[in-house]
């Protein structure tokens, strides 16, 4: 049984200017120990999907259809959200900006030990001891000093290590990480990705890793789902997607990144802009920008079809 099942999830934001269909019918399965990336550009709905799975959608957003099933139980649907008891324990979150995730007026030691005391029922002394070990595990060179530091005294990379330490502290079943390295410098980013990968792999945890960066997906994830305009358009093993992207959007995305060692006159680019989700295009949502558009594409919406055990694509070119 997969640790996480998302079935036909729809999350809409009811704004004064219209209904924004941020996530519009997403199916997703994550097995135990699997690291899955959601790759998409801004406005694709990837962060809303992550927040929806955690049950953290706020007004004016709402789950209007579908369900999130965690470890066999429905934890979020339009009828209610039941993730409160899981969050911080069995499901933990890591966000882009580590400083906004940490409490500015508590020392790092207080924050980690509070999590441990609250969630694992430890006393203060034990909690501090485990906090110290956790900071060593995330390769912080001087845990003693960091335990007594406030978040503003730490660099971005150090603060993100602390957040990762907290996210791992309760040995969760699922970690949702939303662009955890995008705010960091490149050399620091490489280091944090390496650390994250090794910690996750050794712990057999499931991860939902949300990123806009395809190369990060290749570094981190076993499987990848590509999102466009509120829908998953392609998924498969990350390697497969890189070696042979099937959906025209994925193909264009991959070839629009400049490559080192490959001097080209022109980068391939996708014409136009992503659609506004208040009124997404009819039929396939990518059709106004697609170079291979068929007659059917603006009439009928393609569904995700299985091409192999791991590979799925939603495109009329594949029948």
């Amino acid at each position: 049984m997969p640790i996480l099942e998302v079935k036909n999830l729809k999350i809409y934001y009811f704004t004064p200017s219209g209904i924004v269909k941020a996530v519009d019918g997403v199916d997703l399965y994550i097995e135990r120990g699997e690291t899955r990336c959601i790759v998409g550009e801004s406005g694709s709905g990837k962060s809303t999907l992550g927040m929806g799975i955690a049950g953290l959608i706020d007004h004016p957003g709402r789950i209007v259809d579908g369900e999130v099933i965690f470890d066999g139980k429905i934890v979020a649907s339009k009828n209610g959200i039941y993730t409160q008891k899981l969050l911080g324990r069995r499901i933990t979150l890591i966000f882009q900006d580590p400083r906004s995730a940490l409490n500015p007026v508590m020392t790092v030691g207080e924050q980690i030990s509070e999590t441990l005391q609250h969630n694992l029922g430890l006393d203060r002394r034990e909690a501090y001891k485990i906090a110290y070990d956790l900071l060593r595990k995330v390769e912080i060179p001087d845990p003693e000093r960091v335990l007594h530091s406030y978040p503003h005294e730490l660099s971005g990379g150090m603060a993100q290590r602390v957040v990762i330490a907290i996210a791992l502290s309760t040995e969760p079943d699922l970690i949702i990480a939303d662009e955890p390295t995008s705010a960091l410098d490149v050399t620091v980013q490489a280091e944090i990705l390496r650390l994250f990968r090794s910690l996750v792999k050794s712990g057999k945890r499931s991860v939902l890793f949300i990123t806009h960066d395809l190369s990060v997906a290749l570094e981190i994830c076993d499987t990848t789902s590509i999102m466009y305009a509120g829908k998953i358009v392609e998924e498969g093993l990350t390697r497969e997607i890189f070696e042979k992207p099937l959906h025209p959007y994925t193909q264009a995305l991959l070839s629009s990144i400049p490559r080192i060692g490959l001097k080209t006159e022109k980068l391939m680019s996708i014409s136009g802009e992503p659609p506004l989700m208040i009124e997404p295009p009819k039929g396939c949502r990518f059709h106004p920008r697609c170079p291979f558009k068929l007659e059917i594409c603006d009439k009928q919406e393609p569904i995700l079809i299985n091409l192999s055990e791991t590979r799925r694509v939603a495109c009329h070119l594949y029948k």
Binding site: V188, S215, L253
Partner: protein, 327 residues
């Protein structure tokens, strides 16, 4: 030679205490030499706090240097004032990272982009006409010009910012992280556009970025900055194929593996991960500024600051050990 910076520096004072006395300096740029030829796309790379943006602003005198000199098209403009400064302003332009913050939120795009012309006495109607002409060249339709910045997408806003920088037909444009606020698909459009405009208007670019893929794609020369100093500079191919400075190597090895998959084995960088994080530019380490993170550090690195040495023609490196390091 269009631009020559000689031993240039910029210190920002840090004030503190009751009387706001100067208690220290952020040495954002600390003694840099840079020569930009006409037609170059000269990339300046570095991480946050390396001083790359300050250097970009110094090079077109948007900031006054603390020391050193700026020569633009053969003339010393370090202390340019009045007409001389005005001429310099007309010959240079800048495009910032976040077009949302660099465009006036309550003005229509057409007024924003034609403003530089109107300020300089151009008839507004004429200026608008020119703006429309330029806008069509960068792929902005006329109806978009009559909107406000928040009504445009990120890519469209950046196109508007490019029009504003371009409208004087300057010789040199500083591009400060021109695409890092954009999505990849939009990024490719803007990079292609910049390439086309460069040919069309015979421009010279100074490209400030942390993104090495973009450097490789767009630039012909590159300078690598670390804590206010250039640690290595030279032709792009040389720096990417045989980097000498450990910091350059670590930057290159932090690029995700995928990007080397396509290089056909031509570029093969060993993986070096620097330890820790960049120190604060208020207190740069003594000796070589990279020594606190360098995996090859020896005694001399902690004592003596290395100077830029020629590796070969046009390729310079500031490292005590460069002869022993060959990636």
């Amino acid at each position: 030679m269009i631009l020559r910076l000689k031993n240039i520096g910029k210190y920002f004072p840090i004030r503190g205490g009751l009387l706001s006395r100067v208690v220290g300096y952020v040495k954002a740029v600390d003694g840099v030499d840079l020569e930009v030829e006409e037609g170059d796309t000269y990339a300046i790379v570095g991480e946050s706090g390396s001083g790359k943006t300050t250097l970009g602003k110094l090079s077109i005198k948007l900031l006054d240097p603390t020391f050193g000199s700026i020569e633009f098209m053969g003339r010393d403009v370090t202390f340019a004032k009045g007409k001389e400064l005005k001429d310099l302003r007309r010959s240079t332009g800048i495009v910032f990272q976040d077009p949302y913050r660099s465009l006036h939120p309550r003005k229509k795009i057409i007024d924003i982009v034609s403003e530089p012309l109107i300020i300089n006495g151009q008839d507004p109607e004429e200026a608008h006409k020119i703006a429309i002409e330029f806008a069509s060249m960068v792929g902005l339709t006329k109806d978009l010009l009559y909107k406000y910045p928040h009504q445009l997408s990120g890519g469209q806003r950046q196109r508007a910012a490019i029009v504003r920088a371009l409208i004087y037909r300057p010789r040199l444009i500083v591009l400060d992280e021109p695409t890092s606020a954009l999505d990849v698909s939009t990024q490719a459009q803007i990079l292609n556009l910049l390439e086309d405009l460069k040919k069309e208007f015979k421009l010279t670019y100074i490209l400030i970025t942390h993104n090495l893929q973009i450097v490789y794609h767009l630039a012909n020369k590159v300078a690598v900055m670390y804590l206010g100093k250039i640690v290595e500079k030279g032709p792009v191919e040389k720096i990417f194929e045989s980097p000498r400075h450990p910091y350059t190597i670590s930057l290159l090895s932090s690029i995700p593996a995928i990007d080397y998959v396509f290089s056909g084995g031509k570029i093969n960088i060993p993986r070096i991960t620097p330890t820790g994080e960049p120190p604060s530019p208020t207190k740069p380490p003594k000796g070589c500024r990279f020594h606190t993170r360098c995996p090859f550090v020896i005694d001399i690195c902690r004592r003596e600051e290395p100077t830029l040495q020629p590796v070969e023609k046009d390729h310079y490196v500031a490292c005590h050990l460069w002869q022993k390091i060959n990636a």
